[in-house]
């Protein structure tokens, strides 16, 4: 999975005259992918249902939480309809979900939907920043490493990349804290903003993304503070991504650079920089898009760990606290929400890949 090239494109012959037909096929493809996505979402809900109701030895007790009383359990049993046949339960489950009723968190006693809405932006902000870092650092390094295959730059980059994916994220987070907070005192230990800013320059929350909100309200002090707080956790998250991106871009580049059209371009005198960063990269990046999707997944799960270490108030912390307090409804709901996200992102990535590669005609 790590340093392998991906052959993503389905080569099929199109004709410039059929451009209009191609557009129609695009919609067709879009529709088909959407339907498939819906199917996937339904199956995800089925599996989640299984996990929520079927696997635990006493689903009602699990649902109620860490201090179940007989009364609560009985109430839950009724509420969940556990006496009814499975398929009825499933319909109930789905009905609740679609109405936004994910249940109530045993720990916070809030409807889980509200909790989720509160915590989600923090996680998203972290993941997005991490991915931006990963792309900015990873892709050029991958390109150069692939172009100078076998050189010391290549070997050391590859080693760093493999090390990057081997290091447990939570350990890396700790190391970063030790270095930048403990020894150097440069960056804060955790959380999104310092108490000082929260009290004196509070952020007027609109999107939930502190960086964005502070920017659009001109709150520079808060922006600086939020940026400083996001650096370490985003970096911890990004290291794995960087390793992955470098590996993928590199092997993709190596494959592309072996192609005849690169030789032909060089033979017609095109500058090496243009060959690498325009002609080769556009080809190499297509499978890398898939990888960015993969890395998004890892980021989602890695975010859980990073949030714990850096006390980042996002979904990851929410879920981990749920684990520690055996807050089962939260675990199930967050899994569902994140997976839905994941499916949607994959769909978008597929469509982007199809748009980028003119060879793919949407079979």
């Amino acid at each position: 999975m790590y340093c392998q090239g991906l052959h993503g494109s389905l080569v099929s012959h199109a004709n410039p005259d059929n451009r209009r037909e191609n557009r129609m096929r695009w919609f067709d493809y879009l529709l088909r992918r959407l339907i498939m996505a819906v199917f996937v979402l339904i199956s995800v809900s089925v599996i989640t249902f299984f996990i929520a109701r079927v696997i635990p030895s006493d689903p009602a007790a699990a649902w109620v939480g860490s201090h179940p009383t007989q009364e609560l359990i009985a109430k839950a049993r009724l509420q969940l309809g556990l006496d009814r046949p499975l398929w009825v339960q499933y319909l109930r489950f789905m009905g609740d979900l679609l109405r936004g009723n994910f249940g109530v968190s045993v720990r916070t006693h809030q409807p889980i939907l509200n909790d989720t809405k509160a915590y989600l932006p923090a996680t998203l902000e972290l993941v997005v920043v991490a991915m931006i870092i990963a792309v900015i650092i990873g892709i050029p390094l991958g390109v150069l490493s692939g172009a100078r295959k076998g050189s010391w730059l290549d070997h050391s980059t590859r080693l760093i990349a493999i090390a990057g994916v081997s290091l447990p994220i939570f350990f890396l987070g700790l190391l970063l804290q030790l270095t930048f907070f403990g020894k150097l005192g440069l960056l804060p230990l955790g959380s999104r903003i310092s108490n000082d800013i929260a009290l004196n320059h509070p952020i007027h929350v609109q999107t939930g993304f502190y960086l964005v909100d502070s920017l659009i309200t001109g709150n520079w002090a808060a922006f600086r503070d939020a940026s400083v707080h996001i650096i370490l956790p985003a970096f911890a998250l990004a290291i794995f991504d960087i390793g992955l991106t470098i590996c993928m871009t590199r092997s993709s580049m190596v494959e592309v650079l072996n192609e005849k059209y690169i030789l032909a371009a060089r033979a017609s005198g095109i500058s090496e920089r243009a060959v690498l960063f325009v002609l080769a990269l556009k080809n190499a990046i297509i499978p890398t898009i898939t990888v960015i999707g993969l890395s998004f997944v890892y980021s989602l799960t890695g975010a859980i760990l990073v949030e714990v270490i850096f006390s980042w108030p996002g979904l990851g912390s929410y879920v981990t606290n749920a684990v520690l307090s055996i807050d089962f409804p939260v675990i199930v709901s967050v899994t569902l929400v994140v997976t839905v996200f994941y499916v949607i992102i994959n769909l978008i990535l597929d469509l982007v890949q199809a748009a980028l590669d003119p060879r793919i005609t949407l079979n």
Binding site: A14, K260, Y261, L263, A267, I270, P358
Partner: protein, 320 residues
């Protein structure tokens, strides 16, 4: 030979591979005159493609020129500095390859690629470059250049792709075109068209063409002079008629005998016994020695020099 635009002199190239040292080119010597089409003929593995790439100073990795010179317009190409090398590539010497569909970048339109090459060598605006590209497409007899400009390579047929390659090669006014097996991947009818196109261009624009191929029939039709290569060296060269009909070297004779004739359907196909030397062990004598029906003991000891054949048409030479 003062009107030679290209002279390859005693070229030796070897490759460092994990299997050992491979001597790909062993004393290749020939020249291409101005405005003519010269055919470099030989089996696969005889070093002809490597020589082609060496002319552009783009020898594949692991390869090194041991000795020899390649003179283009009188100047040795092999000792030029990097910027000068790029100056030649695409601008004064151009090359087209065997498989045109692999030579075109699949994610850019052919127009985009052509314009990029043009603008690399000529300091003109994009609009002017586009115009020139369209002119070139027209010159290679592409139907509807406007439409083709916006097409992606996979949307075009093999013949059209090769025409595009030719137009890209000539767009900046190259004086020498190296065609490495340009028709091997194409249908026979398209082959004929492309060859005719190349002949026309040669005449109209006075370009010199080095045609590298294994196909004797192709050179017979189009080339004025040919050189027959075997195991990294030229074994026979001269005017096409002379070489094909007054053959001197046993290898060339073997090649011609191996061609199935349309007239005599009887008998089995003749092939040259043995196989091409693999280049790993350097040979002392004639490389054809082990397969030659008229071999003599002296052949094993020395490489036979190229001798002029008297009583033949001018410049017919063979190494035997």
């Amino acid at each position: 030979m003062n009107d030679s635009i290209l002279t390859v002199e005693d070229l030796h190239i070897h490759f460092q591979t994990y299997a050992g040292l491979v001597h790909a080119v062993n004393g290749m010597t020939f020249d291409v005159r101005r405005g003519e089409m010269f055919g470099l003929v030989g089996e696969s593995g005889c070093g002809k493609s490597v020589t082609g790439m060496a002319i552009l100073n783009m020898i594949p990795r692991g390869g090194k020129v041991l000795k020899g010179r390649i003179l283009f317009e009188g100047q040795d190409v092999l000792i030029r500095r990097e910027e000068q090398k790029q100056d030649i590539r695409g601008k004064r010497i151009a090359i087209i390859f065997q498989d045109p569909s692999a030579s075109l970048n699949p994610v850019f339109t052919v127009g985009n690629q052509t314009v990029r090459v043009i603008r690399q060598h000529m300091p003109i605006s994009t609009a002017k470059a586009r115009q020139r590209a369209l002119e070139m497409f027209d010159a290679v007899a592409l139907p509807d250049p406007e439409r083709i400009f916006h097409a992606y390579p996979h949307e075009l047929s093999g013949g059209m792709q090769q025409r595009i390659m030719i137009s890209m090669a000539l767009a900046c006014g190259a004086e020498l075109l190296i065609a490495d097996e340009p028709t091997t991947a194409l249908d026979v009818t398209i082959q004929a068209q492309i060859l005719a196109l190349m002949s026309d261009l040669r005449q109209n624009q006075n370009i010199s063409i080095l045609l590298i191929t294994h196909n004797l029939g192709v050179v017979a039709e189009t080339c004025v002079r040919i050189g027959v290569a075997y195991a990294g060296m030229i074994v026979e060269t001269g005017k096409t008629n002379d070489v094909l009909f007054h053959t001197q070297h046993p290898y060339t004779r073997g090649l011609l005998a191996a061609l199935p004739g349309l007239s005599n359907r009887k008998g089995s196909l003749q092939s040259i016994p043995g196989s091409v030397p693999d280049g790993l062990t350097p040979l002392k004598g004639c490389p054809f020695y082990s397969r030659c029906p008229s071999a003599m003991s002296v052949c094993q000891q020395q490489i036979p020099p190229m001798v002029d054949i008297e009583d033949a048409g001018e410049e017919h030479r063979a190494a035997c």
